[in-house]
Symmetry: C2
Subunit: 203 residues, 2 copies
């Protein structure tokens, strides 16, 4: 029963996996639904049952990337320790990991937004994602006691976007390293109150 229950949702899952890989590599407009159908090994009717319009699949793809990327950012931040200031720098390790990954092709949201209709659902979803990330970084900046959390949030997001987006041109690991150093510089300049030692006690 477990093996026969698996196909119940397996078709949708296979479509999503194929879409994730193909959309990210070539962009949604660069991949026809027939290609996804072949790659996923599903029937056309099944495809359109799960995703009535191709854009529905694009939206699901964006949601998937959103969850994955935010998860990686949060994990990298958490790995940097408990201090929000350290976390703001540490999250750039997620950028470095992404840049090293085979098949790295830049920022899925910017790449997708570039070819999406400005007023449509797809474009709106990409904007929503970036707002989420910035809100999270700004929250970290607030908790780190930054003088201007909104400014620092924007600046770090800018570095992140720059490092991600440039990946579609040239996946240079030195770029991510430079971004992290820049982040450290900006965080240090914006949070002058706690000049905390690497592993120390409260003053």
């Amino acid at each position: 029963m477990s093996t026969s229950n698996q196909p119940r949702q397996a078709a949708r899952e296979r479509i999503l996996q194929a879409a994730f890989r193909l959309f990210y590599a070539r962009g949604p407009r660069g991949v026809g639904v027939d290609t996804i159908i072949d790659e996923a090994g599903v029937a056309k009717a099944s495809f359109y049952k799960h995703f009535p319009r191709k854009d529905d699949l694009v939206l699901a793809y964006l949601d998937q990337v959103d969850q994955t990327w935010l998860g990686q950012l949060r994990a990298a931040a958490r790995a940097a320790g408990d201090d929000p200031a350290d976390q703001m720098v540490g999250l750039f390790d997620a950028l470095q990991s992404a840049a090293r990954r085979e098949g790295f092709h830049g920022c899925a949201f910017i790449n997708t937004a570039a070819e999406a209709t400005p007023g449509g659902d797809v474009h709106a979803r990409t904007v929503g994602h970036k707002h989420l990330v910035r809100a999270w970084v700004t929250d970290l900046a607030t908790r780190a006691g930054a003088l201007d959390p909104d400014l620092l949030g924007r600046q770090l997001t800018l570095l992140l976007d720059g490092g991600l987006a440039a990946g579609v041109l040239d996946a240079d690991p030195a770029t991510a390293a430079s971004a992290k150093q820049a982040a450290a510089s900006l965080v240090a300049a914006a949070c002058p109150t706690s000049r905390r030692p690497p592993r120390g006690e409260s003053p």
Copy 2:
């Protein structure tokens, strides 16, 4: 004769102008050659005489954007004075101007690279442009006496790319302002030798 000599090169020019506007707004793959032909008011045979493949027009488009954008960057840098350190900050005014411009739609190179075939001419051209910009900024950093010019060049380019690329999502003028402030921070941190006053004499 002057009026009749004009059309000799006018067709090519009209095509380029139409392509510039349409390609930037919708991306090269989002615009068919028929649309460009209509918009430029030329015949299809004329189009393919000047640009045998559509990609040839895309390359010409990229060259045009390259010249325009580099010119704006250099002008903004020059407007900031003679000090290379000031110029590295001042060039971000070009970003702010671009973000304010009607129809701002992010970075033409990143947007085009996102939909270009990874190994092809078009993709190579976009990479070439970014290398040019970075080399120019790195040169400024060197002349400003930065401790690590390559690092500073990468960091400023990162900020520039981030501000440009994010424009395809949301053309927020505050983003460009934040980028300029971040640049000022990084330049100040990287060039500690000359702590030059806003309008002063040599020490």
